[in-house]
C-alpha cells in the first residue's frame, strides 16, 4: 500500500480492500471448520496408502521436497479444473472477483471449496503414502508462497526464476481477462507445469492488463461476491431443458446449450481472428503505400 500511495494510487480501492479482507476472514473460518473434516478423512484414507514411509515418516528428509513438488502438481490440476469446470469455478471465482490485483486480492479465498469437493485433488498424495500432516504442511507453504505474487509492484524477476517459479508477472496473466490471457498460468509455485502441459502464457508489455472476471460483478457486496456463481449456476440448471441440465454443472464457465454465451476458448478464438484481420489490413495498407511509392502517378 505504501508503494501504491507513492506510485499507483489506483492499485488499491478502500471498499475493494475491505471486501478482500472480509473474504479472507470468512475463508479462514470456513477453512478451519471444513479443514478439520478433510484432515479426518485424510487420516482415514491413509490406512490404504501405497507406500509406507514408516512410523518415523517425518525423519525421511527427501519425502518433504518430493511431497511439495507432487502437491504442487496436484494443485496445478485442481486449479485447471477450477477454471474449466463450472462446478469448481463456482467456488474458485471468489479469488478472481476483484478488478484490482494487489496483496489484498490474494486473501479472496473461496468459502465454498469444501462444498465444491476441491479436496478430492489432495487425496492422491495421501494414498501415495505421504502423511496427512506432511500434506497439510506443504499445502500451507504453497499457499503462503502464492501470497507475494499478487502484486503489480514487481515487474519481472531474474530470468532463471521466471523460468521455473510462479512470479508476479506470470500470475498477473492468470488474473487477467484479456482474451490472450484467459485460462492461462494455473501454477501454484512452479510455473514448469504450465510449460509442460501447454497452458503457459508470457506477460506481454504491449498488452494492458484488465483484472477480474469476464462479467465484472460491479458490486462490493460480500455475500454476492461469494455466492453469485452458485446462484447463476442454479438458475441455469433450473431453466435448462432436462437433457442439458447437468452440462451447466460440468462444462466450462460460459457454456450454454443454445450458444447464447461464450466460453473463454470462444472469446480467445474470436479475438485471435480479429487480430489476424487487423494485421492483414495493416499489411495490405503497407503494400499499397509501397506500391504507390514505386509507381508514382
Amino acid at each position: 500500500m505504501l508503494w501504491a500511495r507513492r506510485k499507483r494510487p489506483d492499485a488499491y480501492e478502500p471498499r475493494d480492500t475491505l471486501t478482500s479482507l472480509a473474504f479472507g476472514l470468512g475463508s479462514t473460518l470456513a477453512g478451519g471448520l471444513f479443514g478439520a473434516a478433510v484432515l479426518a478423512m485424510a487420516f482415514w484414507l491413509y490406512q490404504w496408502r501405497l507406500f509406507d514411509f514408516g512410523p518415523q515418516w517425518w525423519a525421511v528428509w527427501w519425502a518433504w521436497p518430493l511431497c511439495f513438488v507432487l502437491d504442487d502438481l496436484a494443485y496445478y490440476w485442481f486449479h485447471r479444473f477450477a477454471h474449466r469446470v463450472r462446478w469448481f469455478w463456482a467456488a474458485h471465482v471468489n479469488h478472481h472477483s476483484s478488478q484490482h490485483y494487489n496483496l489484498s486480492t490474494a486473501l479472496r479465498q473461496s468459502w465454498t471449496s469444501f462444498f465444491a469437493l476441491a479436496f478430492l485433488f489432495r487425496i492422491p498424495i495421501v494414498l501415495l503414502g505421504f502423511h496427512p500432516l506432511m500434506g497439510l504442511f506443504v499445502g500451507a507453504i504453497n499457499l503462503i508462497y502464492q501470497f507475494w505474487i499478487h502484486t503489480e509492484a514487481i515487474g519481472r524477476m531474474p530470468r532463471w526464476f521466471e523460468a521455473v517459479m510462479n512470479t508476479p508477472s506470470h500470475h498477473r496473466v492468470h488474473h487477467a481477462t484479456n482474451p490472450l490471457y484467459l485460462d492461462r498460468n494455473y501454477a501454484g509455485t512452479f510455473i514448469v507445469w504450465d510449460r509442460m502441459f501447454g497452458t503457459f502464457q508470457r506477460e506481454q508489455d504491449s498488452e494492458r492488463i484488465r483484472y477480474g472476471i469476464i462479467r465484472q460483478l460491479g458490486s462490493f457486496n460480500l455475500l454476492w461476491a461469494v455466492f453469485h456463481e452458485w446462484a447463476a449456476m442454479g438458475q441455469d440448471f433450473w431453466r435448462a431443458p432436462w437433457r442439458h441440465k447437468t452440462s451447466y454443472l460440468w462444462r466450462p464457465p460460459g457454456w450454454s446449450h443454445d450458444g447464447s454465451r461464450e466460453t473463454s476458448d470462444m472469446i480467445r478464438a474470436r479475438w485471435l481472428e480479429r487480430e489476424k484481420m487487423k494485421q492483414g489490413a495493416s499489411l495490405a495498407a503497407q503494400d499499397e503505400r509501397s506500391a504507390g511509392e514505386e509507381n508514382p502517378a
Partner: protein, 117 residues
C-alpha cells in the same frame, strides 16, 4: 485498519471516463469486439451508453476505481427526468445509475424503451 488506510490515503482516486475513445475501449473490455456507432457520455463522466450497429446498447458505469459494463436487455428499468436518465438493470446487485446525458437523454430513453418492449 488496511481498508481505513486505503481510504485515508485516498487510494483509488476519482476515476472518470476521459472521452468517447475511452468509453469505446471500456466497452471492448466488457465484451470483446463490441463496436459502438453511437456513444453518449454522462456529463460527470461516471458512465456512458454505447450502441452497436445491430442495436445492442451497453451501459458502462464506474465501480470503485474501475468500470463495469452490461449489455442492456428487455428487463431494464428507465426513468427520464429532463436531461437525466436513470437506469436499473435486472441485476439487483449491479445497482442503478443516473446519467446526465444533456439533450441526448430523450433520444436514448426512447431507444431504451424500444429494447424494453
Amino acid at each position: 485498519m488496511l481498508a481505513w488506510l486505503a481510504y485515508r490515503w485516498n487510494l483509488g482516486g476519482d476515476i472518470r471516463i476521459r472521452d468517447e475513445a475511452h468509453a469505446r475501449e471500456l466497452a471492448d473490455d466488457t465484451i470483446c469486439g463490441f463496436e459502438a456507432i453511437d456513444v453518449a457520455l454522462d456529463r460527470g463522466r461516471i458512465g456512458a451508453l454505447l450502441r452497436s450497429p445491430n442495436g445492442q446498447v451497453m451501459l458502462i458505469r464506474r465501480h470503485g476505481a474501475k468500470f463495469a459494463g452490461r449489455l442492456l436487455d428487455g428487463h431494464i428499468h428507465t426513468r427520464l427526468d429532463r436531461t437525466q436518465l436513470t437506469l436499473a438493470t435486472s441485476e439487483k446487485h449491479f445497482g442503478q445509475i443516473t446519467l446526465d446525458l444533456g439533450e441526448a437523454a430523450q433520444h436514448w430513453a426512447a431507444s431504451l424503451r424500444r429494447i424494453g418492449g
